[in-house]
C-alpha cells in the first residue's frame, strides 16, 4: 500500500479493478484545508486520461508490473510484434505504442511492461538514428540550431530539424519527445 502523498509520476495504482499510471502528482496544503494530491492519471487498460484530487493520506494498492526485455520483430496489421529472450511473441497495438511506433526498427531492443500477462506499454531506447530523405536546402551561415525547418525521414516520419541539416544526413531523435537531438556521429 502507498498513500497518495508518496505517489510519483510513473507509479501505478489500482482504482477499482483498473490499473492507472500517475502522469503528474502535485501536493497542496494550506491553512486548515485537508492536504490533497492533485493527480493526472492514465488508465493502462483504456489509455484515458483523468484529473483527480485525493486526500494526501488516501491509501492505494500500488502495482508492481512485470517488465521484460524484448526486440521488435515485425508489424502484423494492426499489431506490432515483439519477441522476448525465450522466443515468445507479444503483440501491442498502435494506440499503446503511440508516437513510439514511428521509431521502431526491426531488431530494436525495447522494454515491455505487462499487466495480467498483457503488454500495456513499450519503452524504446531514448535515442534513435534516422536518415533525412528530404528537406529544403541547407541555409549557409546559420549554425545556431535555433532556426528550424521541416524534414522527412526515410520511412515517412516528419519533424523539425535545424536549418543547417541536409538530405542524406543522419540525425539523432529523442523518442520521448519526438524532437531532433543532434547530428549522428
Amino acid at each position: 500500500m502507498k498513500i497518495a502523498q508518496e505517489l510519483r509520476s510513473g507509479n501505478v495504482i489500482m482504482i477499482g479493478n483498473e490499473p492507472w499510471v500517475v502522469k503528474k502528482a502535485e501536493f497542496n496544503k494550506s491553512g486548515r484545508n485537508a492536504a490533497v494530491m492533485k493527480m493526472k492519471l492514465q488508465s493502462l487498460l483504456k489509455g484515458t486520461l483523468t484529473e483527480t484530487v485525493y486526500k494526501a493520506d488516501e491509501k492505494f494498492e500500488d502495482v508492481i508490473l512485470d517488465k521484460k526485455d524484448v526486440t521488435y520483430s515485425y508489424f502484423a496489421d494492426p499489431a506490432y510484434v515483439f519477441m522476448d529472450s525465450e522466443y515468445n511473441q507479444h503483440e501491442v497495438d498502435a494506440e499503446t505504442l503511440g508516437e513510439g511506433a514511428h521509431f521502431l526498427d526491426e531488431g530494436m531492443a525495447c522494454e515491455m511492461t505487462f499487466y495480467n500477462g498483457r503488454g500495456i506499454s513499450v519503452e524504446l531506447p531514448t535515442t534513435v538514428i534516422r536518415e533525412i530523405e528530404y528537406t529544403e536546402p541547407a541555409v549557409r551561415g546559420d549554425t545556431s540550431g535555433k532556426v528550424l525547418k521541416v524534414a522527412r525521414m526515410v520511412g515517412g516520419l516528419e519533424l523539425k530539424v535545424p536549418a543547417f541539416c541536409e538530405i542524406g544526413e543522419k540525425i539523432e531523435i529523442d523518442t520521448r519527445t519526438g524532437e531532433y537531438k543532434n547530428r549522428a556521429k
Binding site: 497542496n28 494550506s30 491553512g31 486548515r32 492533485k38 491509501k59
Partner: protein
C-alpha cells in the same frame, strides 16, 4: 424530495458547527432537501442554535425538513457531505457503496483564495476500492471556486437585504443606539497584539465603541485593560468604550457583524459573515504551528486588495500581517491609518461582496452540481 446527510466533526470553537448548520439550513430551507445534520458534539451546535434541545430525543426536527442528530439514518441519502474535517463512519460508507444508485458525495472544504484551489474544485476522487466517487468542494472568492455561504436567518436572502440591515442594524446593543461613534466588533482568537490595537485605536482619537462577544480574547483583553470583563457591562478605556457581550446565537451574531463599522473576525464562519455583509474587516486567521496559514492569509490579502488604491492596499496588507503574527507595534502603527480609510473600505467591501455573489451561493452551487452528477 431529495435527501441530504451532512457530517460535522467539532474540532474546537464554534466554526465547524456554525458552517455545517448554515449549509444544512440553506439546503433545507431554500433548496427543498430533507436534511439530516450529524454532529459529534451537539452541545456546541446547541450554543449557536438555541432551539436545539440536546436533552430531547434524537434526531430532532429543529426546522421544517432539517433534522439534527448524533447518528445518520441507516439508508444512504442522495447527497452526502463531509463538512470540513468530518469523515464518514465505515458502515455508512459501506451502505453508500451498496446503494443501487450511489449518493453524490462531497467534501465541503475550508475556503481559500490560493491559486491552486480552483484547480482542485469539484475534481473527482474515485474511491480506490469502492464504487463511489467523492468530490472536493472548495468555497472561495475567486472564479472557479464554489462561492460562499451567506446570510443570517435566511441563508439565501438577497444581498441587498443584508446590506440594508447593515445600514440599519436592528440587534445592535442598546448602548450603541443614538451614538455617532465608530462601532468595532472585536472577535479574534487569543491575540497578543490586542494591546497594540487598543493603543492604536486610542491614538486615532475619534473614540470607538468596542463590542466584545464572550470568547477567547476576554482573558487577554481583561489583562490589557486591567479590568474584569463582565457580559452586559460597558467600561471606558481612554477614548474607547469596551462593551462585553454575552454569548449569542448564530443569527444574532451575524446581524451584529453586519451592523458594525469594522468587524475584527476570525476563522471562517464570522469571516464569511463579514465578507458577505460588505463590512470592513480585520481577519484573524486560524493559526497553525507550521505557519501554513500565512500563505492563505497572503493570498486573501492579494485578492481582496484588487481594485484598492495602493496606499489603502498597503495598509490593509500590513495590518493583516501584523495582526496575524502578533506584532504589537505593527498593529498599533497601522490601525489608525486603517481607520482613516473606513468610508473607502466600506465601499470596497460592498463591491467585493457583490463580486463574490456573482459566483453563486455555495449551497446553490452544490445543488447545481448535485443535479448535474445525479
Amino acid at each position: 424530495m431529495p435527501r441530504a446527510v451532512l457530517f460535522c466533526t467539532v474540532v474546537d470553537n464554534y466554526g465547524d458547527a456554525g458552517i455545517a448548520w448554515r449549509l444544512a439550513r440553506a439546503l433545507a430551507q431554500n433548496h427543498g432537501f430533507a436534511v439530516h445534520l450529524v454532529v459529534d458534539h451537539l452541545l456546541t451546535l446547541a450554543a449557536l442554535v438555541p432551539t436545539l434541545a440536546t436533552a430531547g430525543p434524537l434526531p430532532q426536527e429543529v426546522l421544517p425538513g432539517l433534522w439534527v442528530g448524533a447518528a445518520p439514518p441507516s439508508a444512504p441519502a442522495d447527497l452526502v457531505i463531509e463538512v470540513l474535517t468530518a469523515e464518514l463512519p465505515q458502515d455508512y460508507l459501506a451502505a453508500m457503496a451498496a446503494a443501487p444508485q450511489p449518493p453524490v458525495w462531497l467534501v465541503y472544504e475550508h475556503l481559500s483564495a490560493e491559486d491552486w484551489v480552483a484547480g482542485c474544485h469539484l475534481k473527482p476522487s474515485p474511491h480506490p476500492r469502492l464504487p463511489l466517487t467523492r468530490y472536493f468542494f472548495y468555497p472561495g472568492v475567486q472564479e472557479g471556486t464554489g462561492g460562499l455561504l451567506w446570510g443570517g436567518r435566511d441563508a439565501t436572502r438577497p444581498l441587498a437585504n443584508i446590506q440594508k440591515s447593515n445600514e440599519h442594524p436592528s440587534p445592535r446593543p442598546s448602548s450603541l443606539k443614538g451614538e455617532g461613534g465608530i462601532s468595532i466588533l472585536l472577535f479574534p482568537y487569543e491575540n497578543a497584539a490586542v494591546s497594540g490595537l487598543l493603543a492604536g485605536l486610542s491614538a486615532y482619537g475619534q473614540g470607538a465603541h468596542l463590542l466584545v462577544p464572550q470568547g477567547r480574547i476576554w482573558p487577554q483583553l481583561s489583562a490589557c485593560l486591567n479590568i474584569q470583563l463582565e457580559a452586559g457591562r460597558t467600561q471606558a478605556h481612554g477614548p474607547l468604550q469596551i462593551e462585553a457581550l454575552p454569548f449569542t446565537d448564530q443569527d444574532t451574531f451575524a446581524d451584529l457583524v453586519a451592523g458594525v463599522d469594522l468587524a475584527c473576525v476570525r476563522g471562517e464562519d464570522s469571516f464569511v459573515m463579514a465578507l458577505m455583509a460588505g463590512v470592513p474587516l480585520l481577519w484573524h486567521i486560524y493559526n497553525q504551528e507550521d505557519g501554513a496559514h500565512l500563505a492563505k492569509l497572503d493570498a486573501f490579502c492579494e485578492d481582496y486588495t484588487k481594485g484598492m488604491r495602493p496606499a489603502l492596499a498597503r495598509v490593509f496588507t500590513d495590518l493583516h500581517r501584523a495582526w496575524n503574527v502578533y506584532d504589537r507595534a505593527g498593529v498599533q502603527e497601522n490601525i489608525p491609518k486603517y481607520m482613516a480609510f473606513l468610508p473607502e473600505l466600506r465601499a470596497h467591501a460592498q463591491g467585493r461582496a457583490e463580486k463574490i455573489k456573482k459566483l453563486g451561493g455555495a449551497a446553490q452551487n452544490i445543488v447545481d452540481f448535485f443535479g448535474k452528477v445525479r
